[in-house]
Symmetry: C2
Subunit: 337 residues, 2 copies
DNA sequence: CCACTGACGTTTTACGTATAACTACTCCCG
DNA sequence: CGGGAGTAGTTATACGTAAAACGTCAGTGG
């Protein structure tokens, strides 16, 4: 807050109003009922207004020992998805007088860097996406109240978790494709070490395994359009029976699969069904529109923030996964015969 | 920073190391050459390590009167573009020991809210996208050093500005389309009151106007796929000669234009050429790949941060717009004859 | 008439850090 | 052997706020 000609302090306001600094603090902090007269209070407010007084947050934070600021750690800003998470978290936070600061695990800055060097605001707590695993050790070292988003319930050492019911989403995808008659699947898997992506693979295998005559192959791809294209090309030309359905770990991978299919001369959905997961704007921008699992990112953020507020209050956070639902669009059809 | 059992302070470290608090501050602040012996310094560092000491940032900020934290205000998080801006700014900031905090003008929270309530970190300065106009009045009221991204050089009352050379990008688009033989244009304009979007309209008119026989119509659309679709449909069925080229203010609008064209039974690029602006991942996800103006978002963020650092140092920020370049892909072709 | 209460404030203190100002001790040179 | 120059620290203070503890005065009931 350093300015050349320093900003007015509560003491300046006090002097202007002809009262003590304590009185200013009481009035502006709304703690003056029965302690300061209405006329004096109004004089203080008036002085604060004309001086353009704004409290020094560093001093307030130091005094109160709390900041009403929370850090939201996300894997990157590149996805709409985490934009939604932020929006939901910030809305709930605002309702409770809290602010939210973002720490995107940055490429090019290096995860080894102290996350709090990049978000120097003092913090009351942390909400962390499990996908931003790099930063987690540093966070744990800080002993701050922590809520994990989409993290292994057992692995996070007592931290509260909020999860999307991804497994149920994959179940819906599998049942949809099976009911269309598909038997030969490829799972285009995100090449990321994260519990939430393991869930996808496990659930898919669990659903397809018991159905006689099905085959399932997994191909890994980095989460980007280009990476998905080459991985999907490999998937379509691999060994065994030609797959008729491609289950993608997210919508970006699905967009890459479209391109690979075009290059291979395959028509989506008549030659190849494709499904995504996220339901980003991208899903309806591509042709045909993508059948995908809709995730309510804002609700995810809201629930995360509520859970953190609960932890800060010593209450138990709300239990139960967030439901998701499959949105049927134009990228799935019965397999070619 | 409030924890139940309070965190260790520099005084705790001092006690553990058997020195005074001042010595701890000197050692950990790297100001001890010739003031503290190497052995004592090491003892202090060791004590800090075992206690898990981390300085209280609120106290440090209060003491120093500065925070080494900067606020980046962006219109929303939904675009890759501002993710790039953030990445660039954060990289430069980290090189100078600064942190960056984001304030996304949120939907659903309301722009009337004090931006600093949502980013309660104390700040040394602000970098603001001109697209986040709502927040600007509040920012100006705070008298913080300010750098504007893509703002009217005259309109921003003395604040430093960093601009992309959007006008030159539009010039490249116009010349490309004119050289292909197009004469009937529609400008799919973002329905946003912002100087940078006015530049697009002005430059396009300036380039196409002098060429005999050209027509140019402007259609406004909100920046979203759905909004763009209806606007583009209106554009294709409007009065006058049927347009053969659609110049879009950004890539998302272009994606919407693709959908409108498909619905109208028009083939891109043979029946209709489409151009975008941004060069997001979306540009290569859609079919055909989009001819668009590439903006170097990271460089934009870097230059913004450097400009702010310059202002903070009392130096003049680097002058000159950031160059942009047209990327030719598959969405433009000569007009049908 | 005196203790008590309520109204309206003020004085003082603490939060944790960084650093200016000071002290004490040793060494060394003239 | 006196003093100037390091060396190795310590003591004291300020940053701006919130709030606990402390006054002061007028009115009131017993």
């Amino acid at each position: 807050m350093a300015r050349g000609s320093t900003r007015p302090t509560s003491r300046d306001v006090a002097q202007a109003a002809g009262v003590s600094q304590a009185a200013v603090s009481l009035v502006l902090g709304d703690k003056w009922r029965g302690r300061v007269s209405e006329t004096t209070a109004e004089r203080v407010r008036e002085a604060a207004r004309t001086l353009g007084y704004r409290p020094n947050l560093a001093a307030r934070n130091l005094r109160l020992g709390r900041t009403r600021t929370v850090l939201l750690v996300v894997p990157a800003l590149t996805t709409e998805f985490f934009a939604g998470v932020y929006t939901g978290a910030a809305r709930v936070a605002a309702e409770h007088g809290f602010g939210v600061v973002l720490y995107p695990s940055p490429e090019g800055i290096g995860p080894a860097r102290d996350p709090f060097a990049s978000a120097q605001a003092a913090l009351d707590g942390v909400i962390a996406s499990s996908m931003a695993a790099d930063a987690l050790t540093a966070i744990r070292g800080d002993q701050l109240p922590l809520v994990m988003l989409d993290s292994d319930p057992e692995g996070s050492l007592g931290a509260a978790t909020v999860n999307l019911d991804i497994a149920d989403g994959i179940r819906q995808v599998a049942e949809h494709l099976l009911s269309l008659g598909h038997r030969h699947f490829v799972h285009l898997a995100a090449d990321v070490a994260s519990w939430t992506f393991e869930v996808r693979a496990r659930e898919l295998a669990a659903r397809l395994g018991p159905v006689l005559g099905t085959t399932l192959r997994t191909v890994r791809a980095p989460i980007s359009i280009e990476g998905a294209v080459t991985a999907a090309e490999a998937a379509l030309t691999g060994p065994g029976p030609r797959p008729t359905a491609l289950v993608c770990d997210d919508d970006q991978l699905a967009a890459g699969a479209y391109k690979a299919a075009r290059r291979a001369g395959l028509h989506v959905p008549h030659d190849l069904s494709v499904t995504g997961l996220d339901d980003l704007a991208l899903a309806t921008a591509i042709d045909p529109e993508l059948t995908t699992v809709h995730l309510d990112a804002e609700l995810f953020g809201e629930r995360g923030m509520r859970a953190l507020l609960a932890v800060l209050d010593g209450r138990a956070p709300e239990a139960g996964d967030i439901p998701v639902n499959l949105v049927l669009r134009g990228s799935t059809a019965p397999p070619p015969r």
